[in-house]
Amino acid sequence: MAEIIVREAIAQGLREALERDERVFMMGEDIGAYDGAYAVTRGFLKEFGPERIRDTPISEAGFVGAAVGAALVGMRPIVEIMTINFSLLAMDQIVNHAAKLRYMSDGQLTVPVTIRTVTGGGAQLAATHSQSFEGWYASVPGLKVVAPSTPYDALGLLRTALKDDNPILFAEHALLYGVRGEVPDEHYEVPFGKAAVRREGADVTIIGYSRMSHVAEQAADKLAERGRQAEVIDLRTLRPLDIDTVVESVKKTNRAVVVEETWRTGGFAGEIASAVQEEAFYHLDGPVARVGGLDVPAPYSGPLEAATIPNADRVVDEIARSFGI
């Protein structure tokens, strides 16, 4: 058992794949000579050489499409899109192409591409650089969407991703790279579509993913001070989505709140809330609550930005408002 940070966990998963399988190679902006915008691929260029660690032009549609093409002829590319904000320039390749080719060819084509990208706000990078689009991608059949929150999950889910034969969006939260946690020395994998129950409790279920699962745990701490026990669920993957674990929990607690960093309007939390109501309506003491990002473009100034992103106090307040506990 070693204590490592998320950044190291991801680097380890990438290294393993590069070492194990010569069909694996990486492409992205500044992943090589610069060592990666978030330093995940530090030292990779020296270790694996420029053929497999390919610095690309700032050309998101170009290199994501190129990854799809390389996958079609038998390679297993890993792409790094510097941040999820820039993935919009490659959205055509991700949504119109990567996600569609297997279906439209009726199984003739396979697209084993893992797209790693950095999501989330909180670093005062303002409106164009602070967004969380993983929920959008999760609505697309043909894609899989992963959003780890701990070093254990980051490594375990990445191992699963890099063996999967489908296009995967792997969303790494910018503020989680330094989060520390225990990772076993022996090999393990974390399967897709299996949520983690981070904490058990009987009074309310708090559902989150990525950085918001940490916020959910902080909220649970605050509730515990008041003698209330929250169950905290970390979704880990948005597609496939483990709604069963959520529903099971809600049947026990009779109360649910979904916490999500992106805008409340059209957020993935709405999907969770809706599914819970469909599956567990008669178990609910009240409507499924949502705590989301404020419906504004992310402002730069520290206090303003902080006000847009859900935190533990807002979650606790929402639980009090909705359920009177």
Binding site: Q108, T110, V111, N166
Partner: protein
């Protein structure tokens, strides 16, 4: 028309047959569309046959083809079965994609025919990536990427040329300049005028413009281009000047051009022109032409029959092959 490369009688017959297969296939599919057996978008390739046949017949089995939605010609030239194609157009279970792709999305992975892509320009980075994959695997194939004049104003076009040249990838960029993107003439969309191949020079990609109504010229230029690419010297850009006789799709009433323009291009009809050339050179006889014509007529009639009689996909198929 000239024949600088050696071409034998068997090849001449094959070229003629292939172009005719495409022409008759397209005519038949237009009829099936009028009968509502084919729905959705149907983009016909009539008039452009010399490009697909001249270019694709220069490839070997290790090479790959990827193209846009006006894809029947490329699919058939690459050797796809007209039955599987026609059934796909009719949305049948026996179609090349089991009815899930339709006219714009034909695929045959075994033949290295990688689609059939309906987002203008979208197939280009994918084709470049196929070239990258081939290069990384140390294989010796080449990727032929077809696209229209409409695609060259997309960012993906420029990103693709840049990447392919930067990384010296084995790619033949094949522009089919038929002068129109839907109803808009290239001179109204392209700041540098109609000679688009000039673009390639900026990216340090050797380029040539050919008469796309002349099969032999297309074929010879392709062979020359492949020589360059196979020698590991990076991509090549070919521009074939061509023309589609029909509207953009079956839904197009063609209000944007004069019929006299169409008639002028028809004088140079690629199939007729090739036939006259081949007969003039003594490479094909009138009776051989007649035989090919009746064989092709039968082949296409069979394909239509096959598609008509084929079942629609089963409801359960709807969830098949979303994921690997």
């Amino acid at each position: 028309m000239k024949a600088a490369v050696n071409i034998d009688k068997a090849q001449v017959a094959e070229f003629y047959r292939k172009m005719l297969v495409i022409r008759r296939f397209e005519e038949a599919s237009a009829r099936l569309y009028m009968q509502s057996l084919i729905r959705g978008f149907l983009h016909l390739y009539i008039g452009e046959e010399a490009v697909a046949v001249g270019a694709i017949s220069a490839l070997g089995p290790q090479d790959y083809v990827i193209t846009h939605y006006r894809d029947h010609g490329h699919a058939l030239a690459r050797g796809m079965d007209p039955k599987a194609c026609m059934a796909e157009l009719c949305g049948r279970a026996t179609g090349s994609s089991g009815g899930k792709g339709g006219s714009m999305h034909l695929f045959n992975a075994k033949l290295h025919f990688m689609g059939g892509h309906a987002i203008v320009g979208g197939q280009m980075p994918i084709g470049v990536g196929m070239g990258l994959g081939i290069k990384l695997k140390r294989e010796n194939g080449v990727v032929m990427v077809f696209f229209g004049d409409g695609a060259v104003n997309e960012g993906e076009f420029h990103e693709s040329l840049n990447l392919a040249s930067l990384w010296k990838l084995p790619v033949v960029f094949f522009l089919e300049n038929n002068l129109y993107g839907m109803g808009t003439h290239v001179e109204r969309t392209h700041a540098a005028g109609r000679d688009i191949y000039n673009f390639a020079e900026y990216y340090k990609i050797p380029s040539v413009q050919v008469d796309g109504m002349d099969l032999m010229e297309v074929h010879e230029a392709t062979i020359e281009a492949l020589r360059h690419v196979r020698a590991g010297q990076g991509p090549v850009f070919l521009e074939a000047m061509t023309y589609r006789y029909r509207g953009h799709s079956m839904a197009d009433p063609v209000n944007y051009r004069d019929n006299s323009e169409v008639e002028e291009w028809r004088i140079n009809d690629p199939i007729n022109r090739f036939k006259m050339f081949a007969m003039g050179e003594g490479l094909i006889t009138p009776s051989e032409v007649e035989r090919i014509e009746s064989e092709v007529a039968e082949l296409i009639a069979d394909a239509v029959e096959f598609a008509r009689e084929s079942p629609f996909p089963k409801a359960e198929a709807i969830y098949d092959n979303i994921y690997a």
